[in-house]
């Protein structure tokens, strides 16, 4: 009975304290929480921790929160990157359904802008993978060893991907006639987009966007609970210790710069393409026959917001005292 109180007792402590001590304190409670007196001692300890925060004593809580600061900064860049990816997919979706792709292949300036977007996407993805790999391994290791709620949260991205794959397969099955839905046409005439098809594709985008949001929130939650600062990896009989958030800093900078370059390239590409094809910009060449203007403005707005958020994340990380001077 008393042992069941463990998570609740820990939550009585101030958040700033828990960020720094929760994991080791929980590990200790697993060994020594046996009697009502232990519970009382923890209750008093929690009050003491709150009073310590309120006392305004010159305690270095900032140092205590440094891990939280750099972790939040890295997470901001990650969430901003996901937002940018969503915008990027929308851009590809818009371009694919329009005459702009054919124009891009023949116009050197448009080709250069499009290749820059693709190169930025590749570099950004690589930087996220490289910077996030030690963190991902650490988080998964901790979730597996603890078998806590973190493990369930880590399943969210897997389920989101599964849902997306399942929906795509469903759409393909409808497309090749294996599944027939009322109001959905297998072959669409140019310039038309039946409501059933529109609904089907809207469902695909909703699955993608909601999955991306849910996955980002789940990853954010899991990582914000992980207070491990460094992780030792063993490979080829050698041990490498990585200070994970510091390691993630430069990949986060590269990702942010890649986002900025892609944003500029997207604006240039759009401006040049729409100058050559004004009818396309004024028309309905967005996904499912929707307004091109609305889509393009929405895409560039989301890219801009994501890039600004990523820059703010990098600035926050840089201001952390644990980072080496530039």
């Amino acid at each position: 009975m008393i042992r069941r109180l463990r998570p609740w007792l820990t939550r009585l402590y101030p958040r700033a304290w828990r960020i720094r001590y929760e994991d080791e304190f929980t590990a200790l409670l697993e060994q020594c929480l046996n009697s009502p007196l232990d519970v009382l001692d923890i209750l008093l300890g929690a009050i003491d921790a709150h009073l310590l925060l309120l006392s305004g004593e010159p305690l270095n809580w900032r140092v205590m929160n440094m891990l939280n600061k750099i972790r939040t900064a890295v997470l901001i860049v990650f969430a901003a990157y996901i937002g940018f990816v969503v915008a990027g997919f929308a851009l590809v979706g818009m371009a694919d359904d329009s005459p702009m792709i054919a124009l891009t292949k023949t116009n050197p300036s448009l080709t250069a802008a499009w290749v820059t977007i693709q190169t930025g996407a590749t570099i950004g993805l690589l930087a996220v993978v490289i910077g996030g790999l030690p963190l991902a391994i650490t988080v998964i290791r901790q979730a597996l060893s603890d078998a806590r709620r973190g493990l369930r949260l880590l399943l969210v991205p897997a389920f989101a991907l599964l849902a997306l794959v399942a929906y795509v397969m469903f759409v393909l099955a409808v497309g090749n006639g294996r599944i027939q839905l009322p109001g959905v046409e297998r072959v669409i005439q140019p310039g038309t987009f039946p409501p059933g098809n529109r609904l089907l594709m809207a469902g695909l985008m909703a699955t993608f966007v909601l999955g991306a949001i849910a996955s980002t929130l789940a990853v954010w939650k899991v990582i914000s609970r992980t207070d491990i600062e460094q992780e030792t990896f063993r490979a080829l009989k050698r041990s490498i210790t990585v200070i994970i958030y510091r390691f993630a800093y430069w990949p986060a900078v590269v990702t942010t710069l890649a986002m900025f370059v892609m944003l500029v390239a997207t604006v240039i590409w759009g401006t040049l393409a729409f100058a050559s094809l004004p009818g396309v910009f004024a028309g309905n060449f967005g996904p499912w026959g929707t307004s091109t203007q609305v889509w393009f403005v929405g895409i560039t707005l989301l890219m801009t917001l994501s890039t600004v958020a990523a820059f703010l994340g990098v600035i926050r990380a840089r201001s952390s005292q644990r980072l080496p001077p530039p």
Binding site: W17, Y21, D23, E24, F25, T26, A27, L28, L29, Q31, C32, L33, L37, D38, L40, D41, I42, L43, L44, G45, A46, D48, A49, L52, L59, N60, W61, V63, M64, S145, D146, I228, E229, Q230, T241
Partner: protein, 103 residues
């Protein structure tokens, strides 16, 4: 009757510093060491209340966590403070013993 009932070892911070003087330890190891050394069983809340203050004051420092258990060690400042405090206690103990001998 136990002298601990009167609060001889009622300063958790001093007990932690003395425990860490024997080498780096994580929370549970400190608890056990202090129990063996003094007969006092510190509660988890008391232990971490003291650890928080000692770390914030720069008297102890944390080391990289071993899974979830994070060891601590004395800093030079912590060792100096412990030495001064124990010397004062030693003088106090000597004075008390002299007075007892005189009675």
């Amino acid at each position: 009757m136990d002298i601990n009932d009167f609060g001889l070892f009622s300063n958790p911070s001093l007990l932690i510093l003395a425990s860490l003087a024997g080498g780096e330890k994580h929370g549970y190891a400190m608890m056990e060491d202090i129990r063996v050394m003094t007969g006092v069983r510190l509660g988890a809340g008391t232990l971490y209340g003291a650890i928080t203050r000692l770390e914030q004051s720069g008297l102890i420092e944390s080391l990289p966590a071993d899974e979830r258990r994070r060891p601590y060690r004395l800093t030079a400042q912590g060792a100096l403070l412990l030495r001064q405090t124990l010397s004062d206690l030693e003088k106090f103990a000597g004075l008390g013993l002299k007075r007892l001998a005189a009675t």
